[in-house]
């Protein structure tokens, strides 16, 4: 780990001043950043500790919630308002990492965690994300965990967050502040696909700080976060699905669907949603919608199974939500 200076930001203004210094990086819980520094993948010269800022969850005037960027993952998952109105968010957070890590990790840091691609971590391997222009050893390597949607010739890494998949389904908005002022970014536009510049993972500009994530009012219906992984707990997703479904009189009145473990960003399944909305809530319709979403999917040597798996998880999750709502 390279030497660095440490400053605890007293408030957001102070954080922004410190955060624009050369080589500065914001520090939340450190659960990913400290590991990356130890592996010499990240080498900030100044850590600006923002974990003590924006640590509350507030009701918004329209019935939504504004979650401060410094709130710990466990505190979000355990908040009674989140559990009652946005249970899919609690479930997604609880599906990620371990209790110890969730107790440390912040909301802002969760969004900014980096891929767990083994070639990104291995400095003997080629990786365009770690060292731009060097190539990608994952494309022809061991790529069981890698992307099937939206990948490029430069990078097939996935985004590791569970929380962000639920946020994508819930139409969350990320609030950021920088030297040019504050702005709000829809969560689905916050992370970007790899293209030719996989080292760029979000639309954040240099020095910008995440201050909050806002959830609009919850919609009617049932929701569920379903995660499929190589062991029962404490593993990254092969495929995960965040679904919110409202069925009335056998028809899909409203549906929100997002996928994890399949792309460089939380993948909002807009094609599936369009196929489902207003149509029958049947397994055949769910399968057709899942197929529409995965139509552009491309498998690599070890991960082509994810294409079929994603479809099955979508269908099963929607079918179970439909059954739950019908028995209410």
């Amino acid at each position: 780990m390279n030497p660095f200076a440490y400053e605890r930001a007293s408030d957001e203004k102070n954080a922004l001043t410190l955060g624009t210094r050369t080589g500065a990086k914001y520090l939340g819980g450190g659960t990913n950043l400290v590991d990356l520094m130890r592996e010499t993948i990240e080498h900030p010269v100044l850590l600006v500790d923002v974990s003590g800022l924006s640590c509350t969850i507030e009701d918004t005037n329209d019935g939504g919630l504004r979650i401060g960027a410094g709130v710990k993952n466990t505190a979000v998952a355990a908040d009674p308002r989140v559990r009652e109105r946005f249970p899919v968010l609690s479930e997604a957070i609880l599906a990620g990492a371990s209790a110890q890590i969730r107790n440390m990790a912040t909301v802002g840091g969760n969004l900014l965690q980096r891929t767990r691609c083994g070639y990104f971590y291995d400095d003997a391997a080629r990786c365009n994300k770690r060292a731009a222009g060097t190539g990608c050893d994952a494309i022809d390597g061991f790529n069981r965990m890698h992307a099937i949607l939206g990948a490029s010739d430069a990078c097939v890494a996935t985004h590791p967050s569970d929380m962000a998949v639920a946020l994508a389904a819930l139409d969350a908005v990320v609030s950021v502040e920088g030297s040019n002022g504050a702005r709000d970014i829809p969560l689905v536009d916050f992370h970007v696909l790899p293209g030719d510049t996989p080292q760029t993972e979000t639309v954040l500009e240099a020095g910008e700080l995440i201050t909050a994530v806002t959830l609009p009012p919850s919609i009617a219906g049932r929701s569920r976060y379903r995660k499929v992984r190589d062991r029962a707990s404490y593993a990254f997703a092969l495929v995960s699905v965040a679904a919110v479904l409202d069925v009335q009189d056998g028809l899909v009145k409203e549906v929100r669907l997002a996928l994890g473990g399949v792309a460089h960003k939380p993948w909002r399944a807009t094609a599936a949603e369009a196929a489902l909305k207003g149509g029958p809530a049947t397994e055949a319709a769910f399968l057709a919608a899942a197929q529409a979403e995965l139509a552009s999917a491309q498998g690599l040597r070890d991960n082509a199974f994810k294409i079929e798996l994603a479809q099955r998880v979508i269908v099963d999750t929607l079918a179970k939500l439909t059954a739950l709502q019908e028995t209410r």
């Binding site: 400290v34 590991d35 355990a78 249970p87 209790a99 707990s233």
Partner: protein, 176 residues
């Protein structure tokens, strides 16, 4: 820099690169805290900070100034074992013992999370009033602590005996 470690006020200076784990072991010689993977995967380094369990290997010590840190040495001692330590002995909750301090700190933190009403991924309904420690809940909630000897059955029995009756308290407290 100032810390409260196992009830003792401590002042010391160190390089900001120092993890909480290395501070506890290398500077304060609290060897109950174990370095397993040093990357947050195994849980052997689990300690309690203001009663909340964390991985001390991923924690920069500088970030935990002025906090109350408890290691296994602060939970019990020879002749005055913590009830969970006694239960680990009773139920053979270890073979080599390397993961044990982390398992014990983690389970103490887990019991507090239950009291505070934190759900888990296997909870039937995350919006339920409270949660109790079923076998499935225990295994999910302890999944951040690995035991390479595979002493899990004894670990589960020891934790269930000690904390099986813990329930969510009616008055909500914040866990982190």
């Amino acid at each position: 820099m100032h810390f409260v470690i196992n009830g003792n006020e401590i002042e010391l200076e160190f390089d900001p690169r120092t993890s909480l784990l290395d501070l506890l072991r290398e500077r304060l010689h609290l060897f109950g805290v174990k370095k397993g993977c040093d990357q947050g995967a195994c849980g052997a380094c689990t300690v309690l900070v203001d009663g909340t369990r964390i991985n001390s290997c991923l924690a920069l010590a500088v970030q935990y100034q002025d906090r109350e840190i408890t290691t296994v040495e602060g939970l019990g001692a020879p002749g005055e074992l913590h009830p969970l330590q006694a239960a680990f002995v009773e139920h053979d909750g270890f073979q080599c013992g390397y993961c044990t301090p982390g398992q014990i700190c983690s389970a103490v933190g887990m019991a507090r999370e239950l009291q505070c009403g934190v759900p888990s991924y296997v909870s039937e309904d995350v919006a339920a009033e409270g949660f109790t420690l079923s076998h499935a809940e225990l295994r999910e909630r302890m999944s951040g602590n690995l035991c390479r000897c595979g002493a899990y059955n004894g670990i589960v029995d020891a934790i269930l005996e000690t904390f099986g009756a813990v329930e969510t308290e009616p008055v909500k407290r914040e866990v982190v």
